[in-house]
């Protein structure tokens, strides 16, 4: 091997159709999300399905978030989505202090938004039903029963 170019290695290790003796079977590569990534606003995050523009792989190269209705539930869903996305990000980037600060801020927003929502529309968790005058966990609508123009 390598005789014709004076013993130096060919630029491609597989030049002669053989692998170097120490080669691993395969080397997978997955690009790693960097610290302090750009972030969408909470509504853009919910409608794009990711908080991070860098992870947004548009379907058929078409960038279009869905049009979100504006109501108390969607506002809560948007805040919760940011908390969820930041949490997943922090799982792999626990030392990104800026992201952690944002996580704390949004978690606090989520807590008060949830309390305000439950105050108006009833419990979101069964244990919260204990705060009501009577057992209101069974109150309609269940999440899959929402009608098109139901405002909540």
């Amino acid at each position: 091997m390598n005789k014709e170019n004076g013993g130096t290695r060919p630029s491609c290790p597989d030049h002669y159709g053989t692998l170097p003796s120490c080669a691993g079977l395969a080397v997978p590569y997955v690009p790693f999300q960097q610290d302090n990534p750009q972030k969408y606003s909470q509504n853009d995050a919910l409608s794009n399905g990711t908080l991070f523009p860098g992870l947004n792989l548009p379907f058929h190269l078409k960038v279009e978030g869905s049009a979100l209705p504006s109501n108390p539930l969607v506002e809560l869903q948007a805040i919760e989505f940011v908390v969820l996305e930041l949490g997943t990000y922090l799982d792999t980037h626990p030392d990104d202090t800026e992201a952690f600060e944002m996580f704390k801020q949004y978690a606090a927003m989520e807590k008060s938004a949830k309390a305000a929502y439950e105050e108006r529309f009833g419990p979101l968790t069964r244990s919260c039903a204990a705060n009501c005058d009577k057992y209101s966990w069974l109150k309609d609508p269940w999440p899959w029963n929402y009608q098109q123009n139901e405002v909540k």
């Binding site: 997978p28 539930l73 869903q77 997943t88 799982d91 979101l124 968790t125 929402y146 123009n149």
Partner: protein
């Protein structure tokens, strides 16, 4: 453990039923790369993960997939609510689903094959499991 929150992750409000579309979308519920498989895959694989980051990620994403499962089920439910007899009969693809399940939500492939754990793997090997996740979901985070 898991605590149920009485809301979806993203709003699902469908006015016009579309049984044909429902017969396709059901695969995202219980098909080979559906949300049920995704949640089972992540929530099962996490026990063999040696790294905290991966334990956290598999737990949190696996949990989120349960929420996705619920949204897809809501989509299929709403696409098939208030159907007329005629709407069922003129959609052969949905008609065969209807024979077995009426408008109940059943985890199956678009082809009608029931959800199967044979579409997922849990090998107890970090690299093998994460590679399987990439293949199944296109991304792990």
């Amino acid at each position: 453990m898991f605590i149920y929150e009485k809301k979806l992750q993203f709003p699902v409000k469908i006015t016009t039923p579309n049984p044909k579309l429902a017969a396709y979308i059901i695969t995202q519920y219980g098909g080979p790369d559906g949300e049920l498989g995704a949640s089972m895959r992540y929530l099962s694989q996490r026990y063999a993960m040696p790294f905290a980051e991966a334990k956290g990620l598999l737990t949190d994403i696996g949990t989120e997939e349960l929420g996705h499962m619920e949204m897809v089920a809501a989509i299929v439910h709403q696409l098939t609510r208030n159907l007329t007899d005629e709407e069922v009969q003129k959609n052969p693809l949905f008609a065969s689903y209807f024979v077995d399940h009426t408008t109940g939500i059943y985890p199956q492939f678009a082809s009608g094959y029931p959800w199967s754990a044979s579409t997922m793997q849990s090998l107890g090997d970090v690299i093998a499991d994460l590679s399987e996740d990439l293949a199944a979901d296109g991304a792990v985070s």
